[in-house]
């Protein structure tokens, strides 16, 4: 089965989509690595200013923690893609 997940966009990715969120169809058992590939395909297809190199150094996260590449995408809460951070 396939279902749509919403991924929040922050930092430089926020400039790519006015709503700062992207909807991606994903198989139910998709891993974070699969989500990464889906976002890259979406970016290349829809966003002229998309930087694949920035995605390559970004991580995916829930509201609780950064996700590992090989774990299943959690379906019960928020998802976000986090470019390199620069707080403080």
């Amino acid at each position: 089965m396939t279902a749509t997940v919403s991924v929040r966009l922050f930092g430089a990715f926020r400039d790519l989509a006015p709503a700062a969120v992207v909807e991606l169809p994903l198989p139910d058992d998709a891993s974070v690595a699969t989500l990464r590939a889906a976002l890259e395909a979406h970016g290349r297809g829809h966003w002229p200013a998309f930087q694949p190199g920035l995605l390559a150094v970004s991580v995916f996260a829930s509201a609780e923690r950064v996700l590992r590449e090989h774990e299943p995408v959690p379906r019960d809460g928020e998802l976000a893609v986090l470019p390199p951070v620069s707080g403080g």
């Binding site: 930092g11 951070v85 620069s86 707080g87």
Partner: protein
Amino acid sequence: MSMADALACAIADAAAGALPDPAVALRHVAAPGFGGTALFVGTIRDLNHGRAVVGVSYDLYDALALNVFRRACEEAAAAFGPAIRLYVAHARGRLAVGEVAVVVAAGTPHRDEAFRACRAVIEAVKHQAPIWKQEHYADGDSAWSEGCSLCGGDAHAAPVPAGPA
């Protein structure tokens, strides 16, 4: 007092007129048995990589940022407590040069634990928290800072250089 009360984490919304407040931080970490207080205040610089900066906009993933702040405080309390009080606040939104972007304070019985805990928490905020800085330059241009990549999969992500720091 409970450990939960001893640790305070906040996000200050500049659009609503709020900024991290060192006075609030100092009040939070004060206690009769604490003779040492360390305070870190991060402010907006007017120059970065040779370019004149007039302001900075901070974007945060609030929910995860607060979780990262809390975990950093809990780890510092485990390492340097249990007699410790900690405060962290970071700004969201657009700030001008000289305005306060981040405040960390640590109160402990003696100075060594206060300095070390304060340092540990500000390093975690800088390297592990989902916060992004967009600099606004005097020439009208703006750019997102290159930043540090987060490490996947745990709460102890270490910084990975991703260009000039």
